[in-house]
Amino acid sequence: MSGANLYATTLLVYFFIDVLAAWGLNLQYGLFGMYNFAFILFQSIGAYTAAVLTLGPPKHVFGTQDYFFGAQLPFPLPIVIAGGVAGVLGLIVALLLSRNLRSDYEAIVTFGLSIMALLIVTAVVPLFNGASGLAQVPEPLQGTLGLGAGAYSWVFVGFSGLICLASYGVLRRVQGSPFGRALRAVRESRDGAAALGVNATWCRIVVSVFGAVLAGVSGALLVEFITAWSPAAWTYVESLTIFSAIIVGGVGNDIGVLLGVFATEIVFAEGSTFLPTSLPPNLVGSLPWILIGIVTLAFLWARPQGIVPERRDCVRISKRRAAAVTWDVPTHGDFADLRDIVDGGVASGRG
């Protein structure tokens, strides 16, 4: 397998996995305004779950890795269960937060959770092998497909791409519906939405669980692809880079977020490694982070709406159906024909 092939497939898989995670956070933060600074924790719980369910029972002899439980479930069960476990954690976090709806409270609680979990997993070795983390996770279907490493990587690219596509379909339905509109309303004013009958607590449970499932699946895909996972992979900074991708791409717009991931993770983070540099070697390693930080600040300053802004009037109605309706409502002289306006409201989605 050529180096270029390996590089391209690795980059593509990373891209799809990051997009999946960023969409999960965009549902929480972009649509609903939930400040989840523990997002990487959900990705991580998915990764650990998938790893433990793929590795088989721990051998507990000197020199092997130590972890609890352990099973060897067939593909794709570890990934599915990883999503489920992350979803349950999402539910728990939503319930933890349900005493208070304020966003500063959300930010502090989730940030604290993220750091606590990292410390616990690092310290308690029998959980997930402590700071060394889990390694040598078998790649799914590697044996049964009988493909060479190069072809196999492309299968993985296709698989993660398909998961992205399916998730996009579901997210589009949620976001383009009146339910998505209610989520946005809570983001804009919790009091105002509640006064109109929107149940903000239920909305938060939905986005928290759904976002966590996407994070968990992305983490599971990542661990099955890179075959290892350790606490170094999920410090809180990782949550912040997903926020960066959303801010650069366009808060509340999934296509924008996809471009945001491309811009931050591929163009800037990956591109920076090609820069000829005379910087101190220690700084070179941090260059991607610094660049992402600068780009995020630049966007917040010059283009806060991101590359592709959120749609104006997000509910998607088919033009055909809108045209088939006859309107029986009075017009008040403000406009000639009410039907034009409703159609216009539909057609001028981007306004």
Binding site: R173, P178, E188, G192, A195, V198, F335, V342
Partner: protein
């Protein structure tokens, strides 16, 4: 109250001995009010009289210590705000709570009651299950926007409206919920006279839509023109109830306003 006893119908809103404290402060102290269907009642009183706290306690955003609130005979005490809204009591806020990064039309559509598409399962099943309903609600929302003179701005972001337009949007949005009862918390606070006159016209039209209105207000002239009767509050208590023209001469009422 005379109206309530005439018919067997329960009052639209009944507040019984409602108490709210913040720490040691009794913000609302044993307040009892009855409001009949289709009445317009003003709640007036000096700053700090407890008017806004009373509204918040009725609408569920502040939990009362004791007492009861009944909407059309049904207890709504201590229900969360969204349940009270769904039960038919909608409030507006003193500070506008518009959805800034949503269009004016969308602001109204959020308020539409019992939307199928606003339920997760129907949203996931796809738009063919809620599209027809959505189009009907859009027509209704546009009709309301036209009535309130906001149709021109239907596709503008609510955040771009003026302060006065925002208060009008807040009223239109509240009507979108088909409320039985509407509580307007200082709908004219901080606005210029011209827009106050416009809002007055809109509030005047509300009873004709079959809505019972509670109007919390500072401006006595505004309340006098619109309200059938007023409840005067001071220091968390109900001081007097009745027609404002009779109360204007009342020494206690005048004293409360001057002292406040």
């Amino acid at each position: 109250m005379a109206a309530a006893s005439r018919s067997m119908e329960p009052p639209m809103l009944e507040v019984r001995d409602l108490c709210v404290s913040f720490g040691g402060l009794r913000a609302v102290d044993a307040v009892s009010i009855e409001i009949s269907p289709h009445e317009v009642v003003g709640i007036i009183g000096p700053n700090g009289a407890g008017k806004s706290t009373l509204v918040s306690a009725i609408a569920g955003s502040v939990t009362p210590d004791s007492g009861a609130v009944l909407l059309a005979g049904r207890p709504i005490t201590k229900l969360p705000p969204h349940r009270i809204a769904r039960a038919g009591l909608t409030r507006t806020y003193q500070m506008a709570t518009q959805f800034s990064r949503m269009t004016v039309l969308e602001n109204l559509l959020v308020g539409a009651p019992k939307q199928r598409g606003a339920q997760l399962r129907w949203a996931l099943l796809g738009r063919r299950y809620w599209e027809q309903e959505e189009l009907r609600l859009r027509a209704k929302a546009l009709e309301l926007l036209a009535r309130f003179g906001l149709a021109k701005w239907r596709n503008a972001y609510a955040g771009s409206l003026s302060g006065g337009q925002l208060r009008i949007l807040e009223i239109a949005r509240a009507l979108m919920t088909d409320p039985k009862m509407l509580i307007l918390d200082e709908p004219t606070a901080g606005l210029a006279p011209l827009i106050v006159t416009e809002i007055e016209g809109h509030v005047e039209s509300l009873p004709r839509s079959g809505v019972t209105v509670v109007l919390v207000e500072h401006r006595l002239d505004f309340v006098e023109r619109l309200a059938d009767r007023v409840v005067v509050m001071a220091s968390g208590r109900v001081l007097r109830q009745g027609a404002l023209k009779n109360l204007r001469e009342d020494a206690d009422v005048v004293g409360a306003y001057i002292a406040g």
